[in-house]
């Protein structure tokens, strides 16, 4: 088993009515005025925004709002938010939304102290400190509510890149599954596929990290079962709550312990797609790339791919498991091929080149540009 470090200081307040604890938590940490960053309005419909604002008011916390963070969030919005944070002299950031809003909030929190946050994405600057971050989660997928990662797109250069730093862990995250009860089915599915993909990125690197691998298998089975249950019974709170917590556990570091930091090449290939096609949701892209990735990579860690097939899908080999995976994704309404998105073989080279710009990738196998093209071909 590999040496590892584990540290995750985020406090999770989970469950119905958890939002009431937001204001007191911010107050306890000594903050007086927050930048409330939000998306495109759904948090006004699901009750998260109202709950947050009521709790801030009750605790005497001031706030200034900035709306309009979009899926596949962009750098320009972050610049706008940083400017506002300085002008309004806030002392903390509050994200009310899903992964896109939280990732943007992280970039704002760190960017507040830097001349240009994008320098960090380019690997030229390190994050030493950040404004304290609080979150109210409205869509489970990225686990950004309980990790140190953020992904942003620089649209003019078609770069969708990631950063990570200890200072980016949220201090407190409010996770109330009931605000996700009326989520459009497509978003639930994208979130589930994203979460499942996070587990797989770590799992497939594994060989003998028994605890993490067994936890990963539990999470994958739970995510699949609960999504399926929600398709049949959309108002099943227990299924929703289990899916929500599994999605957080899928990328909060617990299930990644000793797994060498994971592989993440499937994610990078997907980023190669959605940087060019920002209309493709991250989960959708992963649902198409990952099955192909597995078919291409399975021979490089055969024991683990077989174990996965058996333990997660009850299948006799990885090929059959991928079939089952594509069948269930399709049943959920998710596309499983690039052609379903209207992306044809002509574009593969461009996408492969774009993904490859992030530098070498892959741990199960170090992928060449040729490998990426072959994987994309299997995803056609």
């Amino acid at each position: 088993m590999e040496n590892f470090k584990f540290w995750n200081p985020t406090k999770i307040i989970f469950g119905k009515g958890a939002i009431r604890e937001l204001g007191p938590a911010i107050k306890k940490h000594g903050h007086k005025k927050v930048l409330l960053l939000a998306g495109q309005g759904s948090s006004k419909k699901n009750g998260a925004y109202d709950g947050a604002v009521k709790s801030l008011q009750a605790a005497g916390i001031k706030w200034v709002e900035l709306w309009g963070v979009q899926p596949n969030p962009v750098l320009t919005k972050v610049y706008e938010a940083i400017k506002l944070a300085h002008a309004e002299k806030v002392d903390a950031v509050l994200a009310v939304g899903g992964g896109s809003v939280i990732d943007s909030a992280k970039s704002v929190a760190a960017g507040f102290y830097l001349s240009d946050i994008w320098e960090v994405f380019e690997g030229r600057v390190e994050i030493k400190r950040a404004l304290p971050l609080f979150t109210v989660l409205t869509l489970s997928a990225t686990a950004s509510e309980m990790n140190q990662w953020a992904v942003l797109t620089k649209a003019d250069e078609k770069k969708k890149w990631a950063i990570g730093a200890d200072a980016l862990f949220p201090l407190v995250s409010i996770v109330d599954p009931s605000v996700q009860m009326r989520l459009p089915w497509e978003q639930t599915v994208n979130g589930a596929i994203d979460a499942l993909s996070h587990v797989m990125e770590n799992y497939f690197v594994g060989t003998d990290q028994e605890v993490s691998m067994a936890v990963c298998e539990s999470l994958m089975r739970t995510i699949i079962t609960m999504t399926d249950r929600l398709q049949a019974h959309p108002r099943d709170y227990n299924a929703r709550a289990s899916l929500v917590w599994a999605a957080t556990m899928a990328h909060n570091g617990v299930s990644a312990v000793a797994l060498k930091g994971g592989d993440w090449s499937a994610h990078k290939i997907e980023h190669g797609i959605s940087a060019i096609h920002p209309e493709v949701a991250h989960g959708t892209g992963l649902g198409i790339v990952f099955p192909a990735w597995i078919l291409y990579l399975r021979k490089y860690n055969p024991k683990t791919f077989s174990r996965w097939a058996k333990q997660v899908w009850g299948a006799r080999n990885a090929e059959s498991a991928v079939k089952k995976m594509r069948t269930i994704y399709s049943k959920w309404g998710a596309p499983v091929s690039l052609s379903e998105l209207g992306i044809g073989s002509k574009e593969l080279k461009t996408i492969a080149n774009n993904a490859f710009r992030m530098g070498s990738m892959g741990v199960v196998k170090k992928l060449t540009r040729k490998d990426i093209e072959k994987i994309l071909k299997l995803a056609l």
Copy 2:
């Protein structure tokens, strides 16, 4: 699924050679002189003490040592350590040892700021702050290296009681499985049974907390399999490392999420035994109490006990699973009945009374004094 809060800020540095990071970690937190608390000498044999001292020296951290913490650690030793901590003006506590040493160190860290730490155990005072705590783990069992709990015995009153507080989380814990490679087999087994019991205390409360229950099952299977592998191959590092990490995960809160704080009545019954018989190791006592507890309690949450039997033991019901459990404990050399310890039916009333002094107990079922006696009878 129940509402819950999760917070665990301890940083784990895990693996071969991890001890070298101890000094730098203490220095990074700004501390200059620590109280090094240790047990009865085993850490001088397994290399943990030498490694710790070298790392402290290299980082320029001063220390004062206190040895002699015993298994089933006692309050008097903690008083002695607090006195020394004041006299030597230390600014942090370093535990080098197993759960007994770490629990004592926690009591010292909090007791440093109180007129009498025992008042906390009696429930009359709350812990508001504590000296920063660092640990070097030498025996995996209690997960004290990554939680906020401590158990201490007040020998003159035969009380073995517990405390918990946010301030008691260690800041950094060094967990190097290789220092446990030459552990006496009996201690490995006691640690494994203790860890397994922690998982069970949480698990059996469960009904539909799918993520935690599945993670619990993974941990139980891992602990059983890895202990078995170590009996056959004592120098198998991967088996040891998996057991070590599973023991930490068994009681660091992750597997207890949404499980109502767990049941803990089996633990309290065991404390009733080992407070009177301090020669009985905690793990040994649990190995005897828990199977009896399951036989008595199984009808109160039958679905979960059946699930446990099937998922963990591949057995068709809880009764068969308990048989398998006792068989494997016996194979490991652990006693599975009170009579093997020379405790007869005459003592049951005294033990039940002693356990019951801690107040009402049990979540699966609220146990009466009569219930406890009946459980003990099943353990004869």
